[in-house]
Amino acid sequence: MPGVEGFMYPNEIELQWSVLIVLYPFLTGLVAGAFILASLERVFQVQEVKPTYRLALLTALAFLLVAPLPLQLHLGHPERSYEMYLTPHKTSAMAMFGFVYLWYLMAVLVFEIWLDYRRDIVVLSQSTTGWKRMIYRVMTLGSNNISEHALHVDERVGWVITLIGIPSAFLLHGYVGFIFGSIKANPWWSSPLMPVVFIFSAMVSGIATVMLIYMFVTWARKETIDMRCVDTIARYLLYTFIIDFGLEMLDLIHRIYESDESFRSLDFMVHTKLYVSHIVVQILLGTVTPITLLALTQVVRLGEMARKRIYALAGCLTLMGIFAMRWNVVIGGQLFSKSFLGYTTYKMGLVTREGLLMAIVLTILPLIILWGLVKLLPPWPEKNAGSLAGAAPAR
């Protein structure tokens, strides 16, 4: 049979989880990572990253809105998916995740963004006209109180929400790792380290995304990139990446040392079918190279332009590496037979419901939503500081 080597059980020949299921943990990872970066400023008082705070929140929201779409497209009956909320099965991790998603979207992200933007929303609801004014007026919920004390209340409540949001972000992405890590029938996935690795790789990808978006948006607006901010983000990216890489290597060494009955089969797969995506793209290009580049900026005194270029290159390689990691987990876990005697091939559709074109559309869609969100809620306070009687100055 073409594409099949050795012995495969009949239901293993065709892959059930496609590139969209690769995209799904990648997108949720960006959400969790972007939010954790935003929390650095809010909870951990890292003032240097303040220019990216609002952008990180909007990025998280844009990607979170798109995150369930790959799953919807994978379902045979997407129109029934809402039943997960109506009659959730308490023993299903996926059903419970629906509520984690909703909690994170509404109680954490939307609430925090609303609190942080409330002053701007009230100002904009009075300085704009037409349909925009209508939208802003609805968003004020009929309260125009932006006195200093009211904003102080927002600040305090926002701090608490961020504090709750950090474990929620960990839960959101830890769940994705949990789903894979708890499948005991699949030795490529079944590992208690999986949720932890997923959380740290999520933080890495989210931090890299916000750094790249901030650099691109600032350049596009013809503003000066705050190098203190980007240097700090790059430093956090390096630290998180080292922990992530350390955990992945720990998992690898553990597997090699344990050498259970699946090891020879998985080892063969990594050296053949997964060689390019795992060894070359994920480890060498997507992990070792960006870590080396980022470490270089810490030990060698480089000029501003060189640092910018290195950060941009390292950020892109990081995203490529994290996507390859998701690919290797999702696709890799379906390429070998559970008999450990054979391997199949993943044939990706192009213009199909779960094909490459749809994956590209779903990757671009969050950026379009982000553009809309930035237009609606500009993350740059100086642009809409405005002045209203009784309004506290912009923070």
């Binding site: 059980y9 009949p10 909320y85 009659t87 004390h149």
Partner: protein, 173 residues
């Protein structure tokens, strides 16, 4: 009092959330069928609805009542444990009214390979062929009688025939 006034917008948002939850509870009450959860995590009424659906299969005994000659032939062959309706399809209507409802003639070129097309995942002892090489598109019943498929070579009907030749991985003989 001032503290409440300055936190008024928070209460408004809380009210929006409460409204959202109430709408959810209301929609849930309307959309979830009343019998859901009666016996388990499914709609209890579904059991009665499924039980009320017409039976499509006549059952082995119904076939035997009229077609005992075919059944005798089948009992002597390798297909003894294959139910009639596994190949002929559900025949309850035919059993009820044999004169006017006749089973469709089966195309053995399509039917037999459902089970006997060579596949590496099948046990080696199971008779399987690469149909394209084995019969060049001819219907299987050109040589085999489906109710007792082994070809009588004159020596013994149990002997290995082309149809039951073991195939190497990849489907070639």
């Amino acid at each position: 009092m001032n503290a409440f006034k300055d936190a008024g917008h928070i209460f408004r948002l809380a009210a929006v959330f409460v409204c959202g939850i109430l709408v959810f509870v209301g929609v849930r009450a309307v959309l979830v069928p009343k019998s859901f959860g009666q016996y388990g995590h499914y709609r209890g009424d579904a059991l009665a609805e499924i039980a009320a659906r017409p039976v499509n299969f006549a059952g082995h005994q119904a076939c035997e009542d009229c077609h005992s000659d075919v059944l005798d032939k089948k009992k002597a062959g390798k297909h003894v444990h294959v139910n009639c309706e596994a190949c002929h399809g559900a025949q309850a209507k035919h059993a009820e009214d044999p004169a006017s409802v006749q089973p469709a003639k089966l195309d053995t070129a399509v039917l037999c390979v459902r089970c006997h097309e060579a596949n590496i995942a099948k046990p080696k002892s199971f008779p399987q062929v690469a149909s394209a090489d084995h019969s060049s598109g001819l219907p299987c019943d050109t040589c085999h009688q489906p109710h007792s498929p082994a070809i009588d070579t004159g020596e013994t009907a149990q002997a290995t025939t082309p149809a039951t030749t073991k195939v190497a991985p990849g489907g070639t003989k």
